[in-house]
């Protein structure tokens, strides 16, 4: 008999036992193996908040009833979440509609003089375009064309200027008015003469190809004459109806004398003015509210209905936002509302995919349907969050109550806030201009900015992203206004800036980075075609709303002849001067970034650009420098106020010929004084 311990069975048994034992021991000692690799143990938190570990028990496959129960429970939770968002967005729509409505009532009525001034401005723009066309083409070689087109442009520029003055003046004299009519006739005459001169010059060309090429360039000149005729007719009609020429004036002005005031104008109806008047009527704001679901309806809606309704409300928010911007623009530029609507880019909220059909059938019978429904539910919930966030951002730019509970602004308060906002914007636009200023000039924007922030804080309750109440803003900024910052001139040499400025975007109190900080990280988009005349009057989508996911059509590609597809590009530079990607001549670019400030802070901003630039901080225009000029770091200094938290910075930079650069360098005021 062998020893019992030596029997094969015993040895095998002992071997297996030691294997199992060591494995069990390893699992017992190593928590990661146990919880992660094997996933046999799970941690649960009891009602008392204790963490309890227990072996996971595999539940049997749930039956159809159980699946339904689970999905219903999940749906209920998500539905409540979406309903809450829908309620918020609904409130936003109501408040935005209120603001848009109030803006309409505070808008100064555009009178005919404003419309005529706007037409004169268009005429000036067309004349400048004709000038550029003649000067930069073969047409320049036609004898006398250069003088004729210069004369025409000067006349149109002077006319637009005088017409603008006339529209702003309260006391319009007859002489001045009839002078405008005479000027319009002169423009028409000069336009016709120029066209005849050019056509004759073209006829004299020997080469038929040149003749054909030059003839192709003529239609815009004809359009210019038509445009001038329309303007002249509108002006004459208005003037004859309102201010008949007296005899003395008629005697002095033979052409005016020829035109009998009693005679009906050449065109019985002036379509442009009539259209403008008709278009000036905005759609009644109640339209937006009509489409809005009632609050009680929201309570009864299913998930699919809520989601659909939320998507519709997102569209309404976009419309209201664009409408508000159009009204602001119309008011600011004194142009017809319809024209402003065309100029304003309409942003679009990403309102998620169409999930209606999937959300409607909450009756999954198998694993696949269960998964599909849950995915749809998650997507709907994400989209709802996104819509609510975007609506909040849009509303903060429009103004209004901003979800402040309990205390609602009355219509009068809202109107006065809007008026105040308009005044601040006008003041900032005036002081932002940098043209004609010496390098190193310092403009103090703090007063207007503090008022604007206080207004924003008042309208948005507890005050946007950074916290702090209206009182907080005014007191912090009040102190900063009184203390520090007395210099009106700062000398900043390029070498000193290059040597000393450090890259960054954060102003923390305890930071070791002190002194000049250049903004090194940007999202840049462009190029768009730069208009030849009054380029800042043409706005591009980023000025309406910065949407980093959006793509636009830009400048025509020189090789393909198709518009370039533009998207925001991340640019980080170790150099003070930022060079936009896809740099090209006669182009417009936008650069966007954010700056963090730990507290409300006075900052001196040095802005430099090659060539023209416009800079907004927290949507407030702080710098406007037109004209072509080389880059200097100290082209213009602005004393500005940063809100506590994140502050947006948007730069519009325009390139004429050659290279394009811009720089934004910031330095806290107190550091500067040290």
């Amino acid at each position: 008999m062998p020893h019992p311990l030596k029997s094969p069975m015993t040895i095998a048994f002992l071997g297996a036992l030691s294997l199992v034992g060591s494995l069990s021991l390893a699992l017992y000692l190593n928590e990661d193996w146990r919880t992660i690799a094997l996933d046999m143990v799970e941690e649960t938190v009891t009602e008392e908040g204790k963490v309890v570990r227990k072996v996971k028990v595999e539940r049997p496959e749930p039956n159809r009833e159980q699946i339904r129960e689970v999905t219903e429970e999940r749906e209920r939770k998500k539905r409540e979440d979406i309903r809450e968002k829908a309620r918020k967005v609904r409130e936003t729509v109501v408040e935005m509609a209120e603001v848009v409505e109030e803006r309409e009532s505070t808008m100064e009525e555009l009178d005919e003089w404003d419309l005529l001034a706007s037409m004169a401005l268009d005429l000036r723009r067309s004349a400048s375009e004709r000038y550029a066309e003649v000067r930069h083409s073969y047409l320049d070689r036609i004898s006398g064309s250069r003088e004729a087109v210069t004369d025409l442009k000067d006349e149109a520029v002077a006319n637009a200027h005088d017409m603008r003055l006339l529209s702003l003046s309260d006391n319009v004299t007859r002489v001045a008015v009839w002078e405008r009519v005479a000027a319009a006739r002169r423009i028409l005459k000069k336009g016709e003469d120029l066209e005849t001169l050019l056509l004759e010059g073209i006829e004299e060309q020997d080469n038929p190809k040149t003749r054909r090429l030059l003839t192709d360039r003529m239609p815009p000149f004809n359009d210019f004459i038509t445009e001038t005729e329309t303007y002249l007719n509108a002006l004459e009609r208005w003037v004859k109806d309102e201010i008949p020429p007296d005899e003395t004036l008629a005697a002095e002005d033979p052409e005016a004398a020829e035109a009998d005031p009693t005679e009906p104008p050449p065109e019985a109806e002036n379509p442009e003015l009539a259209d403008a008047e008709a278009e000036n009527e905005p759609p009644p704001p109640s339209d937006w509210l009509d489409e809005l679901p009632a609050e009680e309806d929201l309570e009864k809606m299913s998930t699919a209905e809520l989601y659909e309704s939320l998507q519709e409300m997102a569209e309404t928010v976009d419309e209201l936002y664009a409408e508000n911007l159009a009204r602001e623009l119309a008011e600011f530029k004194k142009i017809p509302l319809e024209e402003a609507r065309e100029q304003v880019h309409k942003p679009k909220t990403d309102s998620g995919p169409d999930l209606k059909s999937t959300l409607e059938k909450n009756n999954p019978s198998n694993r696949e349907e269960f998964r599909e429904f849950n995915e749809a539910l998650e997507k709907a919930s994400d989209a709802a969050g996104r819509i609510a966030r975007t609506a909040e951002t849009r509303q903060s730019r429009v103004g209004g109550n901003g979800g402040r509970e309990g205390e609602k602004q009355t219509a009068d308060q809202l109107q006065s806030a809007l008026r105040k906002g308009r005044e601040i914007n006008a003041e900032m636009a005036k002081s932002a201009r940098n043209r004609g200023n010496e390098n190193g000039n310092v403009t103090d924007m703090r007063n207007a900015m503090s008022q604007a922030y206080a207004l924003q804080a008042k309208s948005s309750g507890s005050g946007g992203g950074g916290g702090g109440s209206a009182g907080g803003y005014s007191s912090a900024f009040g102190q900063s206004r009184t203390g520090g910052g007395g210099k009106n001139q700062v000398n900043l040499s390029s070498n000193r800036v290059f040597a000393k400025a450090v890259p960054g975007r954060r102003f923390d109190q305890g930071s070791t980075r002190r002194g000049w900080i250049f903004l090194d990280t940007w999202y840049i988009i462009g190029p768009w075609d730069r208009p030849n005349v009054d380029s800042f009057d043409t706005t591009f989508p980023p000025e309406t709303a910065v949407d980093l996911d959006a793509t636009y059509e830009g400048k025509t590609h020189p090789r393909t002849g198709k518009p370039m597809e533009l998207e925001w590009r991340f640019v980080q530079s170790e150099n003070v001067r930022i060079n936009p990607p896809d740099e090209t001549r006669d182009a417009v670019y936008y650069a966007y970034t954010e700056v963090f400030s730990e507290t409300a802070m006075d900052i001196l901003v040095a802005i430099g650009a090659d060539d023209a630039s416009k800079v907004w901080i927290n949507d407030l225009l702080v710098n406007q420098d037109d004209g072509l000029s080389g880059w200097q770091p100290d082209e213009g200094f602005r004393r500005v106020l940063l809100k506590p938290g994140y502050n947006t910075v948007l730069v519009r930079v325009e390139n004429g010929p050659a290279v394009c650069y811009f720089s934004v360098i910031m330095c806290p005021d107190d550091v500067l004084e040290e």
Binding site: P8, G15, D39, L548, D549, F570
Partner: protein, 141 residues
């Protein structure tokens, strides 16, 4: 005593392997049946992680925010395709609610570096410091 043989003298003691193999197989089947390997739901499947020989091993963390950037430079948040605005919005939310949340960055070995720089800069700007980059290590995979 002649004729009497002592047991074991002519017969060698041999270890029979079959019960041992049976037991081992039983154990193997037991573990195969009971083991449930978890899939990382936040992983983007088509991303080939860069290889590293010096990365430390970190236990998985289900609460971590996973930002992935694939070879085309597209962003993914927790395994779902996302845009720049969504990424920046999410970071804003994280900064407000849980600034110490762990953030894992998954990149492809061919991800354009400027896209990674963009993510790192956004994290830095939002003052989110608990950030790690995931790599492939033969030892751990």
């Amino acid at each position: 005593m002649p004729g009497r043989k002592r047991y074991g003298e002519d017969e060698e003691v041999a270890l029979s392997m079959s019960p041992l193999i049976d037991a081992v197989f039983l154990l193997l089947i037991f573990f195969l049946v009971t083991t449930m390997l978890k899939r990382d739901l936040k992983e983007v499947e088509h991303i080939q992680l860069p290889i590293s020989r010096s990365s430390p091993e970190m236990p998985p963390d289900e609460t971590a925010l996973v930002i992935a950037v694939d070879a085309e430079g597209e962003f993914y948040l927790d395994g779902e395709a996302s845009s720049v605005s969504e990424l920046l919005d999410e970071l804003r939310v994280v900064e407000q609610n849980d600034p110490d949340r762990r953030i894992r960055i998954d990149t492809d070995e061919y991800t354009p570096f400027h896209r990674l720089a963009e993510v790192l800069d956004a994290l830095n700007f939002r003052n989110l410091r608990n950030v790690g980059v995931r790599t492939y290590h033969e030892k751990y995979n």
